[in-house]
């Protein structure tokens, strides 16, 4: 998981300015999400990552750690936004089973890994400028995901270690109200974001899932919000539920932000509900 991003609002002290003509507003850079693309922590949002305007290139690096009841999840990745039109990203996730690995017969500290390569295209709208209409910013994207541990994934009933997600995301900033809303529809087969493979003995096929976010801009540097992400429930071996979070994103500068969240990811691998704390650092230009 990577960051919760944040919204944007014209960014405050734009000390950065610089050769790249960093033009976009603080908080519009957003953060990377679980899947590495620009968005909230759980949800994928429409804006293209980084502070690039339509004349410039922006980029973002993230490092995230989520400490859960029985597991640890870490993510690191990079994304680049081109001319406020196209975003490409890559993320690597580590899923540490800790002592639950022993209980599951995998061995204490057994790890699953996931690679995510993704692209997002902005179709229409501008998050910040379109304040005189209901027009949201709308983007579509694809995410190519590859999990390791093929033998274990097969044993728990996953159909494949690889999968492709496709989504459409609509994000609207109500600047006069200092409020941001996002809604995303995702076609996916992923089990636990893909960490436990794709498809399963209960359901092999794509299903349509929803991601929603609401965030309030409290100051130029602080946004708080909540997100929900529904997930498929494909594996007979372990049920999977929806994920929720409450987050606070602090924009230290245009180049650095930190997000702290309380997450509830639902049950994972028969270990009961997994709640925890999410911390993400993002740097971008």
């Amino acid at each position: 998981m990577a960051g919760f991003a944040a919204l944007a609002v014209w960014g405050g002290r734009a000390e950065i300015a610089s050769a790249q003509e960093s033009g976009r507003l603080l908080e519009t850079a957003g953060v990377s999400d679980v899947d590495g693309g620009g968005g909230g922590g759980l949800a994928q949002w429409a804006p293209i990552t980084g502070y690039g305007t339509r004349d410039a290139i922006g980029a973002n690096l993230h490092a995230t750690y989520v400490g859960l009841t029985d597991f640890g999840l870490a993510s690191a990745g990079a994304s680049a936004g081109f001319y406020d039109r196209l975003e490409v990203s890559y993320a690597h996730d580590w899923f540490d089973t800790g002592s639950a690995g022993g209980r599951l017969g995998l061995g204490n500290g057994y790890q699953f890994h996931l690679d995510v390569a993704a692209a997002k295209l902005r179709l229409l709208g501008n998050l910040v400028y379109d304040q005189d209409s209901w027009q949201p910013e709308i983007s579509v994207g694809v995410q190519f995901k590859a999990a390791d541990r093929q033998a274990v994934l097969h044993a728990i009933g996953a159909s494949s270690p690889d999968g492709v997600d496709a989504y459409i995301a609509a994000t609207k900033l109500f600047l006069a109200e200092s409020l941001l809303l996002n809604a995303t529809l995702r076609a996916t087969k992923a089990n636990q974001f893909g960490l436990l493979g794709f498809g399963g003995d209960r359901d092999r096929d794509y299903s349509l899932q929803f991601e929603g976010s609401a965030a309030l801009l409290l100051s130029r540097h602080l946004a708080i919000g909540a997100e929900i992400r529904t997930k498929p429930d494909n594996l007979g071996f372990a049920r999977e539920g929806n994920a929720y979070d409450l987050f606070a994103a602090y924009f230290i500068s245009k180049n650095l932000s930190a997000t702290l969240a309380f997450v509830a990811l639902g049950p994972i691998a028969r270990q009961g509900d997994q709640n925890g704390v999410y911390l993400s650092l993002q740097t971008g230009f």
Binding site: W10, G11, A14, G23, D55, Y129, L175, R220
Partner: protein, 138 residues
Amino acid sequence: MRHWLFVCLVLACLPCTAPAADQLFQDLGGKEGIARISSLALDLYFTDPRLADSFDNINRAFLQPRFTAFICRTAGGPCVYKGHSMRRAHKGLIITQANFNAVVEDLEKAMDRAGVPFRTQNRLLARLAPMERDIVTR
């Protein structure tokens, strides 16, 4: 002739039927507050290296009253803006989104210095944001 009387009454009343000054205008500190914000913003515009190309050839004494009236009018205040439309005023200039955003950021900084609360700032910015389509020329 009763309808003439009616028309006269309506005409006489035009000034009082003009919309009452917007709450945003009040929240920005009225004419005085907006004049201060405007002056602080221009201080920044004329020294911001990102805007040097845009403001180098502009006479501040010419711009300041127009800019003040424009912000006042945009905030719903009882001011008359006699300048050109945003599209006409920026026609033929080379203005990027980065330039536009720099102007907005400096305005935010000016409002910070004038003590305008963040959420009040956003209400003004929400009215200025769509002007990007008229102001940015490339």
